[in-house]
């Protein structure tokens, strides 16, 4: 059996996903919001609205299109931000949606999951996290 240990234990109360409260910062502005842990998302994708609240010129970022499960393309722009959650702070590229209306902020592999040791027991609504150094 692998021996895993974690620094953070978080019990989530949301029933529609693994919702994690966070603070996202850019250029001295910061917004407290939430994101959903999404192991199936290749990167962190946040709503256009959160980008606007941070004062980000969204379309000035690195353009990147994603292919959602439903097909088509989802256009985003990447920006280097700071994400703080559950006592962990990460500097990450977050991709902000080109258009408003994304229902959820997604915490995906690149920029989030890849920087953590991540454990999940969904039956107990519990995530276990450690930051990889």
């Amino acid at each position: 059996m692998p021996d895993l240990s974690f620094d953070v234990t978080h019990i989530y109360t949301s029933t529609d996903g693994i919702k994690i409260p966070l603070v996202i910062s850019f250029g001295g502005k910061e917004v407290q919001t939430s994101g959903y842990a999404d192991c199936g998302a290749e990167a962190c994708i946040f709503s256009n609205e959160i980008g606007q609240m941070l004062g980000i010129d969204v379309e000035a970022g690195e353009p990147k299109s994603f292919g959602p499960a439903s097909g088509g393309t989802f256009e985003t722009y990447g920006h280097l931000v700071i994400i703080e959650f559950l006592g962990i702070t990460l500097e990450s590229i977050v991709f902000f949606a080109k258009y408003p209306g994304l229902r959820r902020n997604l915490l995906g592999r690149s920029g989030w999951l890849s920087k953590l040791r991540f454990g999940l027991v969904d039956y107990d609504s519990t995530v276990f996290l450690s930051r990889l150094t």
Binding site: D7, V8, T9, H10, T13, S14, T15, D16, G17, K19, P21, V23, G28, E30, V31, Q32, T33, S34, Y36, D38, G40, A41, I45, S47, E49, I50, Q52, M53, F66, P68, A69, S70, F74, E84, L86, G87, I88, T89, P100, R103, R104, L106, L129, S130, R131
Partner: protein
């Protein structure tokens, strides 16, 4: 609160045995209490330390534990981040009432809500609450989410 010397020593040892990041939180608890009321200055330090320990234990149990070596991130103005737990609980309890809207929350207090994110954000800024939770609530009849 009358306390014996041995119970004083026990409280002190309990504080000293804490991991470093929890010691920092404990000191912060004490300082917040000290700064909050001048009457506090007349109370014995260890009594306040004991109470702060109790509050810290409750705080730790009600939220995620901090990772080793992690500092509770300080705002540029040296203010501690607000505890997101009350806002998350509010969202859990009230989501059905505000489906399809953005909400701004100061802990468990609703500051503003509406379909326009920037209007809600502006209202939250005007309110002056420190780092309110800004979140979108999905409509109750929304299809299950998949990206």
């Amino acid at each position: 609160m009358a306390q014996t010397q041995s119970s004083h020593n026990g409280v002190l040892q309990q504080a000293l045995d804490l991991p470093n990041e929890q010691k920092a939180l404990l000191l912060e608890e004490i300082l917040q209490q000290e700064l909050g009321s001048s009457a506090e200055n007349n109370r014995p330090f260890l009594e306040k330390l004991d109470e702060a320990l109790t509050r810290l234990e409750a705080r730790i149990q009600s939220r995620a534990t901090a990772p080793e070596g992690a500092v509770f991130v300080q705002h540029s103005g040296s203010r501690q981040r607000p505890d997101p737990a009350p806002a998350m609980e509010w969202l859990r309890l009230h989501s059905r009432e505000y489906g399809g809207e953005w909400v701004a929350l100061d802990g468990g207090r609703l500051i503003a809500h509406g379909p326009d994110a920037m209007e809600v954000y502006a209202a939250a800024e005007a309110d002056g609450a420190y780092l309110p939770m800004i979140d979108y609530i999905e409509p109750a009849d929304a299809l299950p989410f998949i990206f």
